[in-house]
Symmetry: C2
Subunit: 383 residues, 2 copies
Amino acid sequence: MKNISILGSTGSIGTQALDVIRANPNLYRVNALTAQNNADLLIKQALEFKPSMVVITCEDHYQKVKNALPFIEVLCGEDALIAVVELPQTDFVLTAIMGAVGLKPTIAAIIAKKDIGLANKETLVVAGEMVMQLAKKNGVKIIPVDSEHSAIFQCLVGEEQNPIEKIYLTASGGPFRGKNVDFLATVTKKEALKHPNWVMGAKITIDSASLMNKGLEAIEAKWLFDLATNQIEVVVHPQSIIHSIVQFTDGSMKAQMGVPDMKLPIHYALAYPKRVKSDFERFNFLKYPAFTFSEADTKSFRNLELAFIAMEKGGNLPCILNAANEIVVEAFLQDKIGFLQMSDVIEECMGTMQFIAQPTLNNYLETDAHTRIFANQLVTKQN
Amino acid sequence: MKNISILGSTGSIGTQALDVIRANPNLYRVNALTAQNNADLLIKQALEFKPSMVVITCEDHYQKVKNALPFIEVLCGEDALIAVVELPQTDFVLTAIMGAVGLKPTIAAIIAKKDIGLANKETLVVAGEMVMQLAKKNGVKIIPVDSEHSAIFQCLVGEEQNPIEKIYLTASGGPFRGKNVDFLATVTKKEALKHPNWVMGAKITIDSASLMNKGLEAIEAKWLFDLATNQIEVVVHPQSIIHSIVQFTDGSMKAQMGVPDMKLPIHYALAYPKRVKSDFERFNFLKYPAFTFSEADTKSFRNLELAFIAMEKGGNLPCILNAANEIVVEAFLQDKIGFLQMSDVIEECMGTMQFIAQPTLNNYLETDAHTRIFANQLVTKQN
C-alpha cells in the first residue's frame, strides 16, 4: 500500500490521479490533498478518499472546508503545503500544482525523503540543478509525470549504464501548427485554448499553443536526465502518439508510445517500478495510419527559442523566463495582451533582469518575485 | 575481451558481425569462423582475424582452406560445428547460418553454456520450446539478432517484472506490398529479390517478399518472449524505422527505432548488456517525414497465415512449415516453381506430414528430413 499526498488535487493532473487511485484501492491510499481555490471539489474529494490532512491554500475558503470536514485536519496558506509533504506516513508526493509556487514544497518533500511524482515542471525549470542535487543527496526518486518525460524515463529503465546521445521531445505543434507570424498576431484566447490532442489546464494549453510548454519541457529534461542543450531536440509530431524518444550512443533509439492520455504517465509514476494493469483505451494502428514529423518553427514561435537560450545560458535565466511567462499567459487569458506580445514581454524580461550565474534558493525566489513585478509593468504598458 | 565464435561468417550477418568486431578490437576477439561453401572469403577472414579454429562444412573445400591456413586448426563437415561451439575459450556464439541446420550446433552451444547471439531464427521456429527450456536450465542468455526481436529485447530491458500484453512485429511488406494474387502469380525471382529497405541474403529476401519471414519471426518471438499466438500482431510499416513494439499491461508501448541497418542489432547483441558507441548512420526525421502503418494482407500473402496456423497448433507443425519453406524458396530461386506455388506446397506438407504434438529432438530432425523429401516431390510434380 503506497500512501500518496497530492499537491493540487483539484487540477487536471490531480483529478486524473484520483481516478487512477480510485481504480486501484488495493495499491494506493490518499494521505493528503491540497487545492488553491476549488473548495467544493476539494471537500468532495476529501469525503471520498478520507485523507489525514487537507490544505486549502487560499485562506478565504478555510472556514468552509474546515466546517465540511470535521474529522480531518484542515490547514490553509502556502506554508501548509510544507506540513503536507512532511507527514511521516506519506510515501509519495505528487506535485500537481502549477507554477513556480511548487518549488518550495517540492524541496521540502525531498528533504523529508519522500519520492516525488513530478507534475510541476516549473520546479526543475526554475531550480533544476539544485533540486536534482538535493534529490541525489537524499536518495529520493523523482519520477516525471509529464508525458514526454515519462516516455524518456520509461525508455531509460534498465539502461542506467548506457549514456544518452540525445533525446527527441515530440511536440504536437498545438492548435497553430503551420501558422505564420501574421496569423499568430490575430489569434484569440478561445482559439489558443483548443488543443488538438490533450485535455489540460488553461495555462499549459496556452503554453502548448505558443510552444513555451516544449521549451519548459526541454529545460526540465536537461535536469532530469543530465543533458547538455545540444542533446535535446524538439520534433513536431501532430498525432502525439510517440511521446518522446531516446537515442543511445550506439545509434539505437527507444520510444514510448500510446494514446494521448495523461492517466497513463500518472499511473506509471504511481506504480513505478512496476507496471499495473489498466483498462485505459489501447492504441490502434488502424485509427492512426500515419505518424508525421517536422521541424519546430522557432521563427514564428519565438518562445521555444527563448527557452533554449535560457537553458543554454543557465543561472537564473530559466527562472526569469518562467516567471515572465506565468505573467504573460495570465495576461493573455485576461485579454490584456496579444499572442505575440507574450514573447515580447518574456524577451524584455530576459534582457533586463539581473543575471545570476550561480543562484541560491533565495536568489531564485527573489528573481521570480522581481520578474513578476517587471513583467506586470510591461503588460500594463502594452495594454 | 569477449571471445566470439561465428557460425556462418561469410553470409550477410556474418560479414557484418566481422565489420562490428573490426571496429571494436579492444572489445572482441574472433575465436572461430565457419562457412558452408565460400572458401575464399573464409580464408580471407581467417587471415585477418586469426581465429583458433576454422570450419568449412562442405568437405570439397577442405584441402584448399587447410593449405591456406597452416597455423590454424581447420575442420570440415557439419559435425565440426559442434566442435566449434564447444571450444572452451569461446564466450559467445553468433549463430548466423541459415536454415534448420543451425539447430544442432545451437543446442550444443547451449549445453556448453555459451551465450548465444541468435541470428538463425529456424532454431526457435523448429524447436523453440525445447531450446528455450534448455537455455533456462543452463543459465544461457539468448540474445536475438533479428532486428524485430532485438527491438523487443531492447524494449524489455529493465521490464523483467512487467508482463507483456502484446507485441507488434513491424513488417516492411516487402517488394510486393499492396499487390494482389493475380499480380503475385506472375512475379519473377529478380523482382522478389529487390527488397525495399534491407540488404540481406537471398533466402530471407524471398521470405520477406512472401511474408513468410514475418511468420517465422512471429514463431521465433513466441518462444523468445513466452507469448501466446494472440499476443503477437503483425503491422505493415513500409519505412522499417520502428523495428517492433511491446505493449505492457498498463497500456504503455515501447518501440525501438533506427535506420534499417543490421549492424545495429548485431552490435547490440555483441555488446549486451552494455551499449557501445558506434559511428553508424543516425536516424534523421527530415529524411522520414512520415511513418505509415496498415494491416498485413494474409489473403494474398498466405504464407503469413500458414505460419500463424502452425504457431497456434504447435508440435512439429512449425518444423514442417519451415522445412517445406526452405525447399520451396530454393525451388523458386531455381525457377522451378512460381511465387504462389510456394504456399501451395507448404500447405500441402502441413496437411500431409504426420503431426506430433510433443516432439523429441529426433522427431524434429526426422520431421525436417521427411518434409524436405515430400516437398521436393511436390515441387517436381508442379514443375
